[in-house]
């Protein structure tokens, strides 16, 4: 199996990365740029790219797998990357969900397509497969982690500003400005330490709050789901844009929760099944307390302005989750997905789109399986599960979302008229 070698890096080979979330990945790419990697975030989105996925991957695999592999093969076929000078990067979540298999299925697909000489890099939390050319330093890891925080921050404040901005485009311009600015600061080896980082987070919060806004009450919609479906525009047919076009404010819970969730699962394994003692201790006593600093800084920055909704801390999410499902449910998005739904309902985002690939195994349990108890506890919640699939059509999806929105609108009107009476 070919590896990504030092020579390849030196020669400027392209590392091809599927873009799961624009804001996050754009910042992270800049970090890699600073270390002289040639990273290409895939933006090709032709509707026919799924055909490539269907051709080389078993059709009953989950949609993100078909989509991501299809997108890569499409990019190669179209010549967006040089197939003789590139490596493909794919995530490997690990755990008992079939998504852990993406890496192997990509290898299989490349073989079938006669492209098996292309090196594949697996990104995961358990350590990379050995690619000598991809030396990741501790500094890079810390930078990447802080980039995730910045990404979450920008995503949250921009989503809470854009629907209300008076001058169309102000918000997105500011996102762009900050993304570039952060890239430059990383290049100067700044921006990811204590004070420095807090100052940046606070500044972001202030900048977005200062955008000229007309904050009329709008329908507020939360989006949860399988991680790729939730964040990726390619995956969810531009769900966020669609919702905003329907005059909604959209809340996408931060990605940080998923990272914490991944780290802490071992703790519950230790509790339920034994073993993993060292890992559990390390995470519980050292890693989590350290990382929670960053979470606190982000929340403090957001809380500087009343107009912004503060996300739950991971500890709070754990409590929300436990009210519905055991923390032992840890495959795919597991209990975290349920916890996010509960948080959203509690915080006034009771209108929820739950996105999942058609036939997603964990979401039978923690997505669709939990709608009923949430509805029982919170009658005002208004949740619509939407399946994504190579041929699930936009028309059907939008129609179901519109049903959810019609009810949301009615609820909002009721609430407003109640307030007026008061």
């Amino acid at each position: 199996m070919p590896y990504f070698t030092k020579e390849m890096k030196k020669d400027g080979w392209t590392i091809v990365v599927p873009n799961m979330s624009e804001i996050h990945f754009d910042i992270m790419k800049r970090i890699f740029d600073n270390y002289d990697f040639n990273v290409l975030l895939l933006e090709n989105n032709d509707p026919t790219l799924i055909e490539e996925g269907l051709k080389y991957v078993h059709n009953d695999m989950c949609y993100p797998c078909l989509l991501v592999i299809g997108q890569m093969l499409d990019a190669i076929k179209r010549g967006l990357v040089d197939k003789d000078r590139c490596a493909l990067a794919i995530s490997q979540t690990g755990g008992g969900c079939r998504a852990s298999n993406y890496y192997f299925l990509l290898l299989k697909a490349l073989k079938r397509a006669g492209l098996e000489n292309i090196p594949v890099i697996s990104f995961n939390l358990q350590g990379m497969n050995s690619n000598p050319g991809l030396k990741i330093t501790k500094v890079m890891i810390l930078q990447a982690f802080t980039a995730l925080i910045y990404g979450d921050m920008l995503m949250m404040v921009s989503n809470q500003t854009r629907p209300y901005e008076v001058n169309k485009g102000d918000t997105d311009r500011l996102v762009k400005k900050w993304t570039e600015e952060l890239g430059k600061r990383y290049a100067r080896n700044r921006g990811y330490f204590g004070k420095n980082m807090r100052r940046n987070l606070n500044q972001i919060s202030d900048d977005f709050a200062a955008i000229k806004q007309n904050r009329v009450p709008k329908v507020r919609v939360g989006v949860v789901g399988e991680i790729y479906m939730k964040y990726s525009r390619l995956g969810n047919n531009n769900l966020k844009d669609f919702l905003e076009s329907q005059d909604c404010e959209v809340m996408l819970p931060p990605m940080l929760g998923f990272v914490f969730y991944g780290f802490t699962n071992g703790i519950h394994d230790n509790e339920f099944y034994g073993g993993r003692k060292k890992y559990s201790f390390l995470i519980k006593k050292i890693v989590m307390p350290y990382l929670e600093h960053f979470e606190r800084w982000m929340i403090e920055a957001i809380e500087r302005h009343d107009i912004f909704h503060r996300p739950a801390t991971f500890k709070e999410l754990e409590e929300y989750g436990k009210s519905m499902i055991s923390p032992g449910c840890k495959m795919g998005e597991g209990w975290l997905l349920t916890a996010e739904m509960v948080e959203l309902v509690e915080k006034g985002y009771g209108n929820i789109v739950c996105t999942q690939p058609f036939g997603c195994l964990p979401n039978h349990v923690c997505g669709k399986g939990m709608v009923r108890p949430i509805k029982e506890k919170y009658p005002e919640s208004n949740i619509v599960p939407i399946d994504y699939d190579p041929s699930a059509t936009k028309v059907n999806q939008e129609n179901r979302i519109k049903l959810m929105l019609a009810i949301a609108k009615e609820n909002l009107d009721k609430e407003l008229s109640k307030k007026e009476i008061k």
């Binding site: 339920f272 099944y273 058609f358 195994l361 399986g369 041929s391 699930a392 028309v395 059907n396």
Partner: protein, 968 residues
Amino acid sequence: MLKIGIDVGSTTMKVVAIDENLKPIYSAYERHYSEIFKRAAKMLSDALDKLGDREVLVSLSGSAGMGLSEKSGIPFVQEVYATRVAVNSYLPSTDAVIELGGEDAKILFLKNGLEVRMNGSCAGGTGAFIDQMATLLGISMNDIDRLADKATEIYTIASRCGVFAKSDIQPLINQGARTEDIAASILVAVVNQTIAGLAQGRKIEGHVVYLGGPLTFIKNLRKHFDEALGTRGTCPENSLYYVALGTALSPGGKETKLSSLIDEIGSLKGSGNYTKLPALFKDRSDYDAFIARHKKATVESTNPLTYHGEAYLGIDAGSTTIKCALIDINEKMLLSRYSPNNGNPVQAIASFLNSVYDEYPDIIIRASASTGYGEELLKTAFNLDYGLVETQAHFLGAKHFKSDVDFIIDIGGQDIKCFKIRDGAIDDIFLNEACSSGCGSFLQTFANALGKSSQEFAELAIDSKAPVDLGSRCTVFMNSSVKQAQKDGASIEDISAGLAISVVKNALYKVIRAQSKDALGKNIVVQGGTFLNDAVLRAFEMELEREVIRPEIAGLMGAFGAALYAKRMKERDKSPSTIISKEELRELNPRLKSVRCNGCNNHCLLTINDFGLSRRLISGNKCEKPITGVKKAESDEFNLYMYKQEILRSYMERKGENRRGRIGIPLALGMYELLPFYQTLFENLGYETVISPFSDRALYISGQASIPSDTVCFPAKLMHGAIEYLKRQKVDMIFIPASSYNVDEEKGTNHFNCPIVAYYGEVIRANQDLEGIPLRLAYLSLERPKVFARRIAETFSLDKKEVLKATEKAFIALSDYHRKVIEKGDEIIRRAREEKRHIIVLSGRPYHVDPEINHGIDRLLVSLGAAVITEDSISYKEEKKSVGVLNQWTYHARLYDAAHYIADKSDMDLVQLVSFGCGLDAVTTDEVRDILREEDKIYTQIKIDEITNLGAVKIRLRSLFAAMEMKE
């Protein structure tokens, strides 16, 4: 001001106008045949004629109305929401609404917590579904209602998805079940699907209102809803128009003059903004050249009027058609017929045979054979000489046209069958699964929906300049893809061409899973009625970039092959044909009886066709008992599944002393393997154990209402039924283990359970009303006995030491169970080898041992002469091996090992059972196939769900056996 509401559904358009007092003063209802803009303009013009040109407020609704709304700026009202507005206004006392439309099904709960439900993307039991089924029966939608009046029996038809239902109905037709009963059964299936899929545990009660086309037009559908709900619902005046009325009632609306609205809509054009594919034909001359080339593949024929002598008859009873071929001694075609079976294949063949006897008295039928779904029925009815499996028939037919054929692909009404040929024998077989029937009958139904015949519809595709890209998936999805394309303004020509292309892509990428254009070989023969559609043929050649051979008699190849088979078989046999004579034919009076078999608890609904002269065909049975009268056959000795069931049953019968209470354990998912462990554990802890029984249909139905996700696998759904059983037993508590990890057999990089096996108990806790029975849902793993014992002790407040003791006993019971299975497996292998029986490893997961989940496929294999063993009886014989995928699930590692083990054993083959919706099998099936193909083994996959019919499975297995024989 007048308010106008327009409702554009998937097949029809409704227009209403209401006055200031909210009184409907105008309403109209028409099919729109996908010409949304044109039809809207026309219907509004009709309204203008009646109402005069007035100022109006207009709003739009309906799934196909979104496009029109975007184009015209007329506000859109979501249709379920509109229904609610209308019901609140006109029928305020309503508690619940059931509305079925062309392709959507909705339930609205209006009182005590508003809830609206709409079917998901994978659910077909709606108007279009009934339409499709009517087409299948060769009757109209009105006939369904009329016929259902006279029904006496209800057959079980899978209610989840239209495609599944179809594969249940098909065999009923071919068995000769009464159309009246089938019609009623279809309606009951729709009722079940709506209630199970949409109500999701919430009871539909109080004042129920029925809306929408199917419920308005089919009174028997309302009747069956009434029966199922135990209530009397009402179908109000204007029941077709509630969406349109609600749309008109909704606030907002575009203010305009009626005449200018018509002008505006009339001038609209689609955006043309859909994904386009290259045209099938450049122009007409391109098409003519194509036709001329294919004209060359003809079969020689003989004039039947002047022919004197012997002839051979082949009959192919397909899913929707019957095909007959009569050939002379030189294998030239004398006569043929291709006609729809209209739900009565016996009559169709009788009429053909009559005409042979009457019009060509000089032709003597020397031998006859039947093939296809109706093989047995027709063989019995007409006392034919032979029957053969259809794969074999098609191979014989194709070889006649191209002796060095590499690949045969046959697309019929319901099936896709492909075979790869090597060294003159079938080397690999591909058949479509229940859930991907992008086949001929779909094209036909679609053509009819657009008001065209199949022929006309196919011809339209020839002139398409920019075919729509519709993807390649299940037919239910296809409907919505077409809807989307219509919304984007695709023409009917482009849709027809797009459908043809998608049929081809479905076959190539979904069924065959072809990896390259050359994978199929050089000499390809295409056949089956669907390839008579020139657009499909052309699309196939374009996709492969290769010219293929379409025999002129593409639709008759099965019958032609059967005739060739009859001729060959008769060469060794001098006796005359057994086929019934002209006189006997005249007296043929098939009588049909449905009876419940009382042989066992299954109580199968048997269909008995009595043709007189002691020719009787019994069908609908799951075992041989109604035919032979014997229950336990000696052949059970060759069935490891039976043995496993016996062991499990012995644990179900053990109860234990009741010191600490009665504990209920659902026999579901992982418990099929862990029952010996947990029963022993709890018995030793002083609990009386109550185990739910092996599943059956009734058990499934009893739990159906609380299933939250209709796309989860069938084995998981059955857990709801198992819980209902335990509730009825009034147990003191219910125990469900949850576990991310399974036992570590050290065969992979980890030892996970799949997410469903691991956590399904959470779904039970969240969705099923346990009526106060405490649920002990414990996260446990068998990896570390001490930790396990601690967790059990915590969960049940017991002494840890006591639990540890019981745990040790439980582990002994578990290893005992594994040892027994392995020993029995070895014994079966030994005896099978002595008796020269072929050995089939019927591999799946532990839960596939359940007779309701495996549908008796184990017994079917044994009845075909094989010995059946399980994957876990041989997997331990293999060393840890590396495989091409992430090997981290315990059950799946066994699959790979079993495949490795048999790969080099000539007397063993593997058949993999795959439950629909099993996400992990998308990974395993390809890998197991690769392992087997490396040693040239044929890989056979059987996808199962709640379907109850074995017809297609039988064909698949017989094809496997036929291919193995030929290879030898």
